[in-house]
């Protein structure tokens, strides 16, 4: 077994026990990464030399008796909308092509504190807007499970990097499914934590009341460790909860489904979902039942009917304001002009891509006076309604089962219509609307070897149940393996 095939916690264990040096672990991943990257383009910025330096520094610290855990020596890929000090943080946009972050995101600080080694910045849809990573200014990422297909998005680079074995762990951000859907497309696991679990400080905002940083990995245990590392209070993000956190890794080993209730969504039957993905969900339900869980019927009628529409009003509204700072005045791309308005027009006209502009326009429109009540205020009501529906569902269920995506990974250019692309998010946006934790679990492969998946949605702060159920399902389905490589060019 190659080093790049191991899970994060296992690698950290090797390092902790002195069986491997950090440099050995990192070098194995860097070599593999450099062989694959020419094919997949999962990264906007590979950080080879920085990773080597960091590995040496960690080895020196360990030799000096330092106690660094629980991710010591673990290579990680960071989505390129999360600030890593001294590295470009482009958000997949021409607007920030040359912007170097002057500070670390809190999540990055936590990873570094746990001993992780950043090996690259992951490709993404521009400003996290998209479901295929085709909206990256730097070109699309290819799906390691089938390079003719998209890796999903917007955290497509992070998902592809984990699937291709660049790193056992990556950070993504999830506003309407941007961790879970690419995880599903690339055949890895992805967790979007409860809103307020992980600090957003240093995450370039798309839609602030939805955005949440979370891990992608090939091992449920790695998601658990990452969550322990990432999920800490932070007074630099007032929306980050000060609620005390728990530990997950040890607890989920002994998780039992006896007496647990799995919610099956009633309205779901008629939805246009790929039959294989539907079958995967039914299969997952049966495994839970066999392990002692009860299946219960829950209703998410209004959520399924109106959630997506509400999301595509509220998220663009916040985005239109969040992206106002990209005006070419203080940082980033700028096209100077004699007249201020002209400078704004050219800077934003040339610096931002079409999907970003579309959402800014949508958001500007729905916030305009005269339209605010009809759109923004109404969508907020839907948002509250979604939370209520989940509240009711969680009175009878501990975890709700849903597909992550209605479709299997599609070909590049196959979904051209923006509305059709938005429909990819129908099962992921509900968790963001209600601020709930949700986990996309890789459940093996279907036709043409394409990855299958299910989604688990939990109560607020119900990550323990999600990880517990996921670990049992993972035992049944088998943990996903990284692709063995295409023999691509060394880059």
């Amino acid at each position: 077994m190659e080093l790049w095939e191991y899970s994060a916690w296992r690698l950290a264990e090797f390092v902790a026990q002195g069986q491997l040096s950090v440099s050995e672990v990192v070098e194995a991943h860097l070599t593999h990464m450099q062989w694959q990257e020419g094919t997949y383009h999962a990264l906007i910025t590979p950080m080879v030399e920085a990773a080597r330096d960091r590995a040496r520094a960690l080895d020196t610290a360990l030799a000096g008796g330092a106690d660094i855990s629980p991710l010591c020596g673990v290579p990680v890929v960071i989505k390129d909308n999360i600030c890593v000090q001294g590295s470009p943080t482009t958000c997949g946009s021409r607007m920030l092509e040359r912007w170097v972050a002057p500070y670390n995101a809190t999540a990055v600080d936590h990873l570094l504190g746990a001993g992780a080694v950043v090996v690259g910045k992951g490709n993404m849809d521009e400003f996290a807007m998209g479901s295929s990573t085709e909206n990256s200014f730097f070109g699309p990422t290819k799906n390691p499970r089938d390079p003719n297909r998209v890796p999903g998005g917007s955290s497509g680079g992070s998902a592809a990097a984990v699937a291709a074995g660049y790193a056992p762990l990556a950070l993504g951000s999830d506003t309407g499914g941007s961790i879970r859907q690419p995880a599903a497309f690339c055949g890895v696991h992805g967790l979007k934590p409860t809103y307020g679990m992980v600090s957003r400080h240093g995450l370039v905002a798309y839609a602030s009341s939805f955005d949440q940083i979370g891990p992608l990995a090939r091992d449920v245990g790695d998601l658990a460790v990452a969550l322990e590392v990432l999920g800490r209070a932070d007074d630099r993000d007032p929306t980050c909860s000060s609620r005390p956190r728990t530990t997950y890794l040890n607890a989920i080993q002994t998780y039992s489904l006896k007496g647990r209730r799995i919610g099956m969504v009633r309205e779901f039957a008629g939805s246009a979902v790929d039959p294989e993905l539907h079958a995967a969900m039914v299969h997952a339900a049966r495994i839970c039942q066999d392990a002692g869980a009860t299946l219960v019927d829950v209703s998410l009628r209004d959520t399924i009917a109106y959630g997506l529409a509400a999301y595509y009003i509220l998220a663009p509204a916040e985005a239109s304001s969040n992206l106002s700072r990209f005006d070419g005045v203080r940082f980033g791309f700028c096209r100077e002009a004699e007249v201020l308005q002209e400078q704004y027009r050219r800077t934003r006209g040339e610096g931002l891509g079409p999907e970003v502009k579309r959402r800014i326009l949508t958001g500007t429109y729905v916030l305009s006076s005269g339209y605010y009540d009809a759109y923004y205020a109404t969508a907020q009501k839907v948002r509250r309604r979604v939370a209520e529906e989940f509240d009711v569902a969680f009175q009878s269920a501990d975890v709700v089962l849903l597909p992550t995506s209605p479709r299997l990974p599609f070909y590049f250019g196959e979904v051209g219509d923006p509305m059709a692309m938005y429909l990819m998010d129908i099962f992921t946006v509900p968790a963001n609307l209600a601020g709930l934790p949700a986990l996309s679990l890789a459940t093996g492969s279907g036709r043409d070897g394409l990855p299958l998946s299910v989604q688990l949605v939990g109560r607020p702060w119900g990550e323990f149940d999600l990880l517990g159920v996921a670990s049992i399902l993972e035992k049944a389905f088998g943990a996903p393996q990284p692709i063995q490589g295409t023999g691509g060019k060394y880059s």
Binding site: D237, T239, F326, S368
Partner: protein, 488 residues
């Protein structure tokens, strides 16, 4: 033709809160004279990924001001985003409280023309962040002809309280009084320094005209008012401009006009078909601001005596005139100095005169704060007690005071120097003998029982006190005289 049209004026005042650090980050608020862009960080520069965290001190100062204005404090208020593009606005939106402000429905009493007071309603007090500053690259620093413009973000994120009055003001003079009253309050509370020239107190005026029984015409907002004079002059200008317009059959357009200091006119800004749409919506980065009843009560307990109450106390309790009291309460520090002197035993009327003349004159001349005044209130009190008792003449007291102030010597030392010091008992006796010798006739009249009311011995006492320049108490002088006259 419509001479009965009367002005309806409402003011929006921005008060910079004296927090030390900015409203959403830890950067210093001290931007006056600072090198551009030194007090900045990712948050106040609006860098990607930065998030605001609310400064508790700004909430505290805002609450204090709200309470002092008699406002209802909202236990749950909220921050919105006001979206617009301008190079001095780093994030492309200003974080400001909108429909759920920190404080609502208060009032402040303002002196009116007839010597009475008029209660002006306060609609709201809300918290917001300041923008940065543009520096234009032309030689004279003006926009016209500038080859480039530079942005200084030192001021971006400085906390402001915006205080909005109801349209209760009816004249430029009353508007001026309102600003003065508010400034006094702000300074008394210590929530801000209220310096209009430095921009830490900024006034925008809304003015319309209305006939009797009318609801009033469209209002015009006047901006760029950097002094009380500008406020009064611009309102006067705008009243006559609107009167002329209406009398010629025109209508006043709702617009924003800028006051030009040089031409002394208001000038309409680019006429916009529609009002700018700021697309306000709740800032998703900041949870609603929730404060407790206990916090509000703690603030209430910390409220100092307010200027109005203090003035009343000075008039009714200490017997000062309205004018004297008004001067003393103008600055909280001066009022406190006066209060401390009185508490240390200074006679109030005399202390009032001395503080208003000797102390305030020096403070103004030397442009220093009363806190740094070298003569402490209890020293002044000790000095004035001696004047009151006749022990010191006013002239000597002034000499002493000057020395106390400029040389920072002790009171005893000053008294010794300017009064020659207290005489010894031998010196006192010698002076007594000399006085008696020079006034043998008076002594004989006293000994002959022809001084039933003690006027004659009082005369001798006066002679001695004068000779002593107030260096001994009248009692001691009287005792010496009596011993020399009766026991010889």
């Amino acid at each position: 033709m419509r001479e009965e049209l009367s002005p309806v004026i409402g003011l929006e005042i921005h008060v910079q809160l004296a927090t030390g650090t900015k409203i959403f980050c830890g950067c210093s608020t001290d931007y006056i004279g600072a090198v551009p862009n030194v007090n900045v960080c990712p948050v106040c520069l609006g860098l990607p990924g930065a998030l605001p965290s609310l400064n508790a001190r700004a909430v505290e100062l805002g609450t204090l001001a709200g309470l002092a204005l008699g406002c209802r404090i909202r236990l749950r208020s909220r921050f919105h985003r006001k979206n617009y593009f301008y190079p001095d606005l780093p994030k492309g939106y200003q974080i400001s409280q909108y429909d759920e402000p920190l404080a609502e429905e208060g009032f402040i009493d303002v002196a009116d023309e007839k010597g009475g007071t008029r209660r002006i309603r306060i609609l709201r007090l809300h918290l917001e962040e300041d923008a940065g500053k543009l520096v234009h690259g032309a030689g004279d620093g003006r926009l016209e002809g500038a080859s480039c413009s530079l942005v200084d973000c030192n001021r971006a994120g400085v906390p402001l309280a915006e205080i909005v009055s109801a349209p209760d003001l009816t004249s430029p003079a009353m508007s001026r009084e309102y600003v003065l009253a508010l400034r006094r309050l702000v300074r008394h509370l210590g929530v801000g320094d209220g310096d209009m020239e430095a921009g830490s107190l900024r006034v925008d005026a809304n003015i319309s005209l209305k006939g009797p029984g009318e609801s009033g015409g469209e209002r015009v907002e006047i901006k760029n008012l950097n002094s009380l004079r500008a406020l009064e002059r611009s309102l006067e200008y705008e009243i006559s401009r609107q009167r002329d317009l209406i009398s010629r059959g025109g209508t006043v357009a709702r617009e924003t006009r800028h006051w030009n200091e040089v031409t002394e006119r208001t000038l309409g800004t680019r006429s916009k078909e529609e009002a700018q749409d700021y697309r306000y919506f709740p800032d998703p980065d900041l949870p609603p601001l929730v404060i407790t009843e206990g916090f509000v009560e703690a603030c209430r307990r910390r409220l100092p005596e307010l200027p109005d109450a203090r003035r009343r106390r000075f008039v009714e309790g200490l017997g000062l005139s309205e004018e004297e009291a008004a001067v003393l309460v103008e600055e909280r520090g001066v009022a406190a100095y006066f209060d401390a002197a009185v508490a240390a035993g200074a006679p109030p009327r005399r202390a009032s005169a001395w503080v208003r003349t000797e102390v305030l004159r020096v403070l103004r001349e030397e442009r220093r704060a009363v806190g740094a005044f070298p003569v402490l209130p209890d020293t002044l009190a000790a000095l004035l007690q001696r004047v009151e008792s006749g022990e010191l003449s006013t002239t000597v007291a002034r000499e002493c005071f000057h020395a106390l102030r400029t040389e920072e010597i002790s009171l005893d030392e000053a008294l010794r120097r300017f009064g020659g010091g207290k005489p010894s008992s031998e010196e006192l006796e010698a002076l007594g003998r000399r006085t008696l010798e020079e006034n043998v006739d008076v002594v004989e009249e006293i000994l002959g029982g022809r001084d039933p009311k003690g006027k004659k011995i009082k005369y001798l006492e006066g002679l001695m006190m004068r000779a002593l320049r107030g260096q001994e108490t009248p009692e001691a002088v009287r005792r010496t005289l009596e011993e020399l006259i009766f026991k010889k």
